[in-house]
Symmetry: C3
Subunit: 348 residues, 3 copies
């Protein structure tokens, strides 16, 4: 593709030779002649001078590259779209694979693609153009919207509801039984039947091997536009709001409500029955034990205000020094007291 | 169902109109007319006055609700049983699905249900009424007891032994190779063949995508009545006692023994070769690096006595203040020393 | 097997009766007559006197056992090999199971074994003697080398490349979409198509339910000889060097480079875009927020030098005491100042 045409498609302003042929999108360090690359993170600015790329997507008004430039107000977004332009547009053909097992009572749009060894239960409904890869199990009564992509080895348990344009990476489990038990007098535990529903709204993406449990009563719900990374645990009765970002290995305990636009780093843990206010943020590995106000930013465990945590966690490593200073203070004070005593004696 | 009949089935004392029709169990905030709800956690007491439920399950002697009441000494247990009464009693029909693959050398009770795309290896034995959902793989020589439920996409590796009434949520892996390697002189690692057994005793439940490894020698064992949440790692050679509760994303390193009645919060990690004493407890995210006495309660990393940890972790966030106080002490002491010096001078 | 023959096969020096029949390898505590056991960890030395084993593998020059001994410079390695000698040498027969689904366009060596319900996509290449267990999904264009073992319920996404002698435990996902999104002006997120490759080099082992994401551009790569435990997250664009060891539930964020010979304990988390220097080490639960020098050893979160962290973390639990000492210093200093004042007064 001519750089000129790429610029037009990405709505970027071209600086340089529009006749260059672009064949690929690449990272700034790996880029070769024929590649377009991008600079969105200032950390990589020093790489710009030595890039071998034929063209760079750059922020309007930022530094110049030693090659052709595509200028835009949002270089990361332009990069994302450039990747899409060059990506192989591949999708399996519509239809049910002869080695799938689809209930005669299921309702699949003819445009749906069902792979080998997919089991589709009674009463399942699947919307237009949704693709289901091999070895997926879809339980009885599940509803799936249009334009979803369900990768291999996903399990959707009975009566789970999935919106439109949902992407489920491989190994995702939705609707497994919540971890709900009552302790009996003899120390054994009685299972609380986990029979209520799970709803995954439109435009949600769940990462590989992530698990979303169903509750005994009420529902577990993940709202529109939320993106969740791999190996995340969403417990029974949790509500996750719109456009939330949860990085890998996060765990949310039962009945907690995550409001819209929340961002959690990796390995964050949240206790049950809390409310995490809109637009709040927790850095990686935070352990959140109390509800958070909208817009709050926290770190550490138990999680506290992020600025306080940053200061405190620096001081933790200086604790040996602080202890030495206290030791010395005690020694000098004792000395002073003893001197003061003798000084008083002499002054008498 | 009439409230009167529900009260009888739950062995609760009825206060109010026994003729009310109950159609569902619901959480206190979501309940509608026709629903029975419950109050077990005092945190939700303020909700009681405004519930729209037709009836509430309540502790004997506790506050009153503005609707009919079912009084009991254990409202959470009564709630659990009420959920079971209203839950859809659904199970797949007995028999082997024509699209399953069962070795001619396997021994399945005729009451067993085997779903589509289930692979059952040579010498496998499965007891009465056990249900195996689609896309499960059961390796050669596996033994499974009666009344188990094995959800889709579970992997049971060769020779694993499963007791009665075991529930395996979707994606569980049992009997994968333990992480056992010997470093060679050249820095590469030689695999120690992991060929010994795994035993899951009666009434155990394992959460979605939880993994239980097999060891090289000895065995990995999870004893009766233990309930384990999602995404938990049980390493090779670990023993987990009876009626243990491990919340989501816990990791237990190799050869550690967890005794009976232990409770771990989410994301706890335990080092290898330790003994975690009976009835001990670790709060979420604890990192346990030493064996624990029976009944011990710990928190933090490295995990310490829970009360000490609670006090210390509060002080961590006050470290900037503590440092300022030490700075000031040093300044004032220096001043005092200098004053004392001049005072001594003047007194001479 | 005669102990004499075992000694020869393990290249150990025999002390005692070479005519003893050995039937099994066992742990030192579980060993019975007829078993050979080993002592590699000095922690278990007290068990040696009371072992019931018929023979023990021991370090040259270390203490003696009350039974026959196999002396060697590396008892753990000899143990590993002994396990292999007694392990059942079991592998499925070569050939494609009639209930598998293999694209007519795939190239499988005749010695390959493909289990039931395995889906093999277009253009897949699989090398000699590789074994694929049931319910595995292998996407279009995947390349797999020789002598690999791919356990049940693994997902290999399109175009993933796997070397020789790679072992993938059950439920592993390779090539799932990286967690890459661009925030739009309205707070929603646009997916960056994750279409680049993943390469798993020779002799790598990945633990059960571990996930390895693909990036938008560049590649994700795990180099030769690296061994990764269960439930580990390797994000998009990460490079993991040779002979690296990552314990269970570790998470590596996007674009980070882990150099050769690095060792991470369980539940370690690493931020994105870092370089973790060759031969460095992080103890369990470390949270690494900065690049690490070769050979560095760290602990804690944010991770700091291991020795400093060990000292500091001990002091954290003594913070209540430290605060009391500061309280007392302040009180005594105030008293001293007041005394000094009155002393000065009286001296006037």
């Amino acid at each position: 593709m001519k750089l000129r045409d790429l610029a037009a498609q990405l709505a970027c302003r071209l600086e340089g030779d529009g006749d260059i042929d672009i064949i690929r999108v690449a990272g700034i360090q790996q880029a070769q002649p024929g590649d377009v690359t991008f600079l969105a993170n200032s950390k990589y600015e020093p790489e710009l001078a030595r890039t071998r790329a034929s063209a760079v997507i750059l922020r309007e008004g930022s530094i110049a590259a030693p090659c052709a430039m595509l200028r835009t107000t949002d270089p990361y977004l332009a990069f994302a779209r450039a990747v899409g332009i060059f990506a192989p547009a591949w999708r399996p053909a519509a239809g049910v694979h002869p080695k799938a097992d689809v209930s005669s009572d299921a309702h699949l749009d003819p445009s749906v693609s069902i792979g080998a060894f997919v089991s589709v239960g009674d009463g399942v409904v699947i919307g237009k153009r949704t693709v289901v890869f091999p070895n997926v199990t879809i339980g009885a009564g599940v509803q799936i919207g249009a334009d979803c992509v369900i990768h291999s080895n996903v399990s959707l348990r009975e009566r789970v509801v999935i919106g439109d344009r949902v992407i489920l990476q491989n190994g995702v489990v939705i609707g497994s039984d919540g971890y709900g038990f009552v302790r009996r007098g003899d120390g054994t535990h009685e299972k609380i039947p986990q029979v209520a529903g799970v709803v995954i709204e439109d435009d949600v993406e769940l990462g590989a091997n992530t698990t979303v449990d169903r509750p005994a009563v009420g529902e577990t719900r993940i709202r529109c536009g939320t993106k969740i990374d791999n190996l995340v645990q969403i417990a029974h009765g949790v509500t996750v709001g719109r456009n939330v970002l949860l990085a890998a290995q996060v765990g949310i305990a039962g009945s907690t409500e995550i409001e819209d636009d929340v961002v959690f780093g990796g390995q964050v843990g949240v206790s049950g029955h809390l409310t995490i206010g809109r637009g709040s943020l927790a850095v990686a590995k935070s352990g959140i034990t109390n509800s958070m106000e909208p817009g709050a930013m926290v770190g550490g465990y138990p999680a506290i205000d992020l600025k306080t945590w940053r200061k405190s966690s620096v001081l933790v490593k200086r604790l040996p020094e602080l202890r030495l200073r206290v030791n010395e203070l005690e020694a000098r004070l004792a000395e002073l007291v003893s001197e003061a005593g003798s000084s008083k004696d002499t002054s008498r």
